[in-house]
Symmetry: C2
Subunit: 232 residues, 2 copies
DNA sequence: CACTATGATTGACAATTATCAAGATCGCAA
DNA sequence: TTGCGATCTTGATAATTGTCAATCATAGTG
């Protein structure tokens, strides 16, 4: 594995507290690979052979059932995915595909479990990471069950606005069909939802979004830290 | 804390591997309390002062937003809840109320975090527990996004059938209004969903359910281990 | 034994969301 | 630039789900 990737991974909260030798041991079996866009990295149901780390690009986590498909999350650099499956030595619950050209590190799951068993600080780091993941999914679940599609879109836009610096105008970070799937609706309805938000102070042109009346827009969206704050 | 409760908690996977003295230390600040039905134990947004353990009875985890409310899970003996909030020292994302008369152990969160920092085996046990919780929520999320309300009900019934021993006739374990909320629908629609499943081999009288044509019913429900198996 | 309160069901209706079928638009490559 | 393919949008329609009101069933309670 190239030195640069090694360093990037080392800086992740998950690995930063480990002893040098255990980290080296963990990296010994790991390797980095470049993938083109739209490559299926893992398939739900498969055994979890590797813990994945996205070094660059982005990855879509999705799931299918009975001919339907839905996006559950997007993984951006630098972070890991399918940690829970790796730890439990259980099959993947989600599939993963690259959204764009991506560089991914693959760390053998059995090495992760072995180090986890001997290195307490690594175990603690994993706890923190998993607790974070768990709370994120709970928030997603609340959003899905408590909000209409219009409300979900409005709050997504507010979150995206904050992520991109808080200015009135910003752009969507991925294509609308995926956004629709993430938000639990069809692309057609997403289009209509954008239209439906215009009376509350939204303008949209292609991928460019402008919140023209922040107060009114937030009055409609009713953002809530217990659903919308990534950190809380 | 009474000796019996102490023993029950000790047998939980979460605590069974701890050293005796750390377990004692953890239990020193803990106490057990009896609650009547319909008592709100915790409120979402509050700081997570205690890790809770349900010793008897049952607890509903729910959440509210903008005047709406939804049930996210039911906790039955013997298990803990709001572990993630305790670990992260973050506010509760869900509220909790007793569904019936319940006995609950309360363990100060700061003690849990303190022990977690010094006891590697406890940290590892927490990881396993959290990974399990995480995967459960992912499954719930998949169910909600990929299945219609009829399909969710059908698969819930198959899971309940398995939990209660697999016989054709069995009974619902909680009231229908809560079931509706858990499944993400209104009580009215749950009523209609039960009716809608009759052509596929279901009979229902009050709280008593009979699957009269198992093969046909499963053909409709299409259960999937990556959504419906509690263990996977 | 009524009486009451609560939950469950039903029907009528409204709102939301999905589906299908055209078009419109955009990005990209020849 | 032109043309192609994909995404996005729009309209018409259907399916699903939610809301409201009324009724029914049931379990306690006096």
């Amino acid at each position: 594995m190239p030195d640069s990737a090694f360093k990037e991974i080392r800086h992740l909260a998950l690995f930063s507290q480990m002893a040098d030798d255990t980290f080296s041991a963990l990296m010994r079996g790991a390797y980095v690979q470049n993938f083109p866009a739209q490559i299926e990295l893992i398939t739900e149901g498969d055994p979890s052979d590797f813990l994945h780390v996205v070094l660059s690009g982005s990855v879509d986590l999705f799931s299918s059932w009975n001919g339907r498909e839905t996006s559950l999350a997007t993984v951006r650099p630098i972070s890991t995915f399918i940690l829970a499956a790796t730890i439990k030595d259980a099959p993947y619950l989600m599939s993963a595909r690259t959204l764009e050209k991506s560089r991914i590190a693959l760390i053998p799951s059995q090495d992760v479990r072995a180090v986890f068993d001997i290195d307490g600080s690594f175990a603690r780091a994993i706890v923190t990471e998993l607790a974070q993941c768990y709370r994120s999914v709970i928030k997603a679940q609340k959003e899905l069950k408590l909000r209409t599609s219009l409300e979900r879109l409005a709050n997504y836009l507010l979150r995206q606005q904050r992520r991109t610096g808080g200015t009135a105008a910003f752009s969507l970070d991925y294509e609308k069909r995926r956004l629709a799937s993430v938000l639990g609706m069809t692309p057609e309805n997403l289009s209509r939802a954008f239209k439906g938000l215009e009376p509350f102070g939204l303008q949209i042109e292609g991928t460019r979004v402008t919140i023209t009346d922040q107060a009114e827009f937030e009055r409609f969206a009713k953002p809530n830290p217990l659903i919308d704050d990534a950190s809380a």
